[in-house]
Symmetry: C2
Subunit: 343 residues, 2 copies
C-alpha cells in the first residue's frame, strides 16, 4: 500500500491538507501517511528549511502531499528556494502539471465563457529555465550594481517535458498541444524549444499542434480559454499562465498541481496552487477543494485511476451544489467530499 509523506506547512496548509487526507482515506483506505514539519514555523523555531536527513526520508516515500508553505515574516526566497524549489529540483520533478476546468456551479469571471467549456492542462517545465538559480550581482547596493538571472535550457530537459505533454494529449479527447514561448525575443532558448517541439510533434501525427508567444497566450487565456487543451511551456511562463488559467476558472482556491517525476525514480509532489493565506488561517473557512484535487492527481500518479476519478467526481458534485458567495466551512466541505467519493 502507498506510503505518502505529508507536509502540511503553514497558514491554511494544515486545514486543507487535513481534508485531502480524509478524502484519500475514504477512497483508498490503508495509505500510510507520515507527517513532516517543514515551513515558516520550523524555520523560525530552528532556522532549518530542509535538512538533508529530511530530504533523504522524503525520498523514501511514494509521493508527497503538500499544503502550503510561506509566511510574510520569512524573507523572500528562503522557503521558495530552500524548500519548494529544492524538492522540485532534487526529485527531478520536471513535469509541473496544472489542470484548469471551469466546473459547473462555479461562477467564472468571464461573461462569455460557460461552465464546462474550459478544460485545459498546462504542462509546465519544472527543473530548468530561470528557476535554475543561475544569477548573481556585482557592486550590490551601489549605483553601479548589476544583477543577472540566467535561463538554462537543455535539449534533454525540454524534450522530456514536451514528450510528456504529447503523451497526455493522446489520452485526451481533443488531442492538441500548444507550445508557448517567446521565440521572437528569446531566440536561443526559443529555438531549442521550437525544434524539440517539432521533432516530438513529428512522432505524433495524431496530435494537433500550435505555437503562441507567451504574451498572446496570456491574452487568449482571458479572451478564449476554451481554445486550449494541453499547453506545454517553460518554467516561468508556466508559473504566470497557470495563475491566469486559475483566475479564469474561478480562482486559485480551486487550482490543483502536481510536481511529477514521471519515471517514479523520485517521489512526485502534489500541492494546491494557492499559498498559506495567513489572513484566513485558523478560522476553518479555507476552501479545501484545491488540496483535494491535488490529492486526486496524487492518486492518479500512483496508479489509482479509479480512486482519482471518484475524488474528481466528488468535487464536481460539491461544486455543482454550491451557492455562489455562500460561506463555507473547511471541515464540512471535507466531510461532504469524503462522503461523495466513497459512495
Amino acid at each position: 500500500m502507498a506510503r505518502i509523506a505529508v507536509v502540511a506547512g503553514d497558514g491554511i496548509g494544515p486545514e486543507v491538507v487535513g481534508q485531502a487526507r480524509k478524502v484519500i482515506d475514504s477512497v483508498l483506505p490503508g495509505v500510510t501517511a507520515t507527517e513532516y514539519d517543514l515551513g515558516a514555523a520550523r524555520y523560525h523555531r530552528t532556522g532549518e528549511v530542509l535538512p538533508d536527513s529530511v530530504l533523504d526520508e522524503l525520498a523514501g516515500h511514494d509521493a508527497i502531499l503538500l499544503g502550503a508553505v510561506g509566511d510574510p515574516t520569512v524573507p523572500p526566497g528562503v522557503l521558495e528556494r530552500g524548500l519548494l524549489l529544492k524538492l522540485r529540483f532534487a526529485f527531478d520533478q520536471y513535469v509541473n502539471l496544472r489542470p484548469s476546468r471551469l466546473w459547473p456551479g462555479v461562477p467564472g469571471p468571464l461573461a462569455a465563457v460557460k461552465p464546462g467549456e474550459v478544460d485545459l492542462v498546462v504542462v509546465r517545465e519544472g527543473t530548468e529555465g530561470l528557476y535554475a538559480g543561475a544569477g548573481g550581482s556585482l557592486h550590490r547596493g551601489t549605483p553601479a550594481e548589476v544583477a543577472t538571472e540566467e535561463s538554462l535550457n537543455t535539449r534533454h530537459g525540454v524534450e522530456r517535458v514536451i514528450r510528456d505533454a504529447f503523451a497526455r494529449a493522446r489520452r485526451r479527447e481533443r488531442r492538441k498541444v500548444t507550445l508557448v514561448h517567446k521565440t521572437n525575443v528569446l531566440t536561443h532558448a526559443g529555438s531549442l524549444w521550437a525544434r524539440a517541439f517539432e521533432a516530438v510533434a513529428a512522432e505524433h501525427p495524431d496530435v494537433a499542434t500550435e505555437y503562441q508567444h507567451v504574451d498572446a497566450a496570456a491574452m487568449f487565456l482571458v479572451t478564449q480559454p476554451q481554445r486550449y487543451d494541453v499547453v506545454v511551456t517553460d518554467n516561468l511562463f508556466g508559473d504566470i499562465l497557470t495563475d491566469i488559467a486559475a483566475a479564469v476558472t474561478g480562482g486559485i482556491g480551486l487550482a490543483a498541481s502536481g510536481c511529477i517525476n514521471p519515471e517514479g525514480r523520485y517521489p512526485s509532489m502534489f500541492e494546491p496552487v494557492h499559498g498559506s493565506a495567513p489572513d484566513i488561517a485558523g478560522r476553518g473557512v479555507a476552501d479545501p477543494v484545491a488540496a483535494v484535487l491535488s490529492a486526486a492527481l496524487l492518486l492518479d500518479q500512483l496508479g489509482h485511476a479509479d480512486a482519482a476519478a471518484r475524488v474528481t467526481a466528488a468535487v464536481a458534485t460539491e461544486l455543482a451544489g454550491r451557492t455562489p458567495g455562500a460561506p463555507l466551512r473547511t471541515e464540512e466541505v471535507g466531510d461532504r467530499l469524503a462522503g461523495y467519493a466513497v459512495a
Copy 2:
C-alpha cells in the same frame, strides 16, 4: 513645428497609421511627417531590416509613429530584434508606456467589471532584462544542446524607470504604484528592483506603494483590474502583463503604447500594441483606435497636452457610440475621430 517619422510597416499598419495621421493633422496642423519604408516587405525586397543610414535619419526626428511590422513569412526574431527592439535600445526608450482603460461603450470580457472602473498604466522597462539579447547555445541540434538567455539589470536602468513611474503616479488621482517582479525566485534581479523601488518610494511619501509577484499580478489583472493605478515592472513581465491588461479592457485592438526616452535625447516611438494582422490586411476593416490613441501619447510626449486630450476625448466619443459587434470601416472611424477631435 514637430517633425515626425512614420513607419507604417506591414499588414494593417499602413491602414491604421493613415487614420492616426489624419487625426494628428486635424488637431495640430503643420506637423511634418516623413515616411520610412521598413518591415517585412522591405526585408523581402532588399534583405535590409534597419540600415544604419535610416537609423541616423530617424534620430533626427521628434518622434516616430509606427504602425505594425511583421509577417509570418519572416523568421522569428528578425524584425523584432532587428527593427523594433533595435529602435527601443538604440534610442534608449527605457519607458515602455502602456495605458489600459475600460472605455464606456466597450464590452469587456469580465462580468464583474463595469466601464470606467479600469484605468491603469503599465510602465514597462524597455532597455534591459531578458530583452538585452544576452544568450547563446552550445551543441546546437544535438542531444547535448544547451541554450541560455540572460536577464541583465542595472541599478541605473531600474531606478530611472521606477522614477518615471512615481512621477506619473503623482500626476494621477490615486497616486499608487505597484511593483511587479518575482523576488522569491529571481532573487538577484528581484532584490535590485525591490531596493531601488524602496529608495524611490521613500522620496515620494505622497505615493502609495505595493509589491506583487508576477503570477499574482497576472491573476489579479483578471479578477480585480480596478485595483491598479501605475504598475512598474521588468521588460518581459511588462510584455505579458500589458497583453492581459489589454485583454480585460476590450482587446489589443484598443491598446496604445509609447516607447519613450523621457529626456528627449532620442526620439520616442509610438505604436499600437497589436500586430500587422495579415489575415485582415487590405480590407479596410482594422480598428484604428489603438493607433490613434498611440498618436495621442505622441502628442502628449511632444508637449501638446491639449491636442492629446482632444484626441483621447474623440476616442471616448467614438467608443461610447459603438454598437458591440457592429462592423466598422477603418477610414470611416478615422474620419469620425478627426471630426470629433477638431470640433
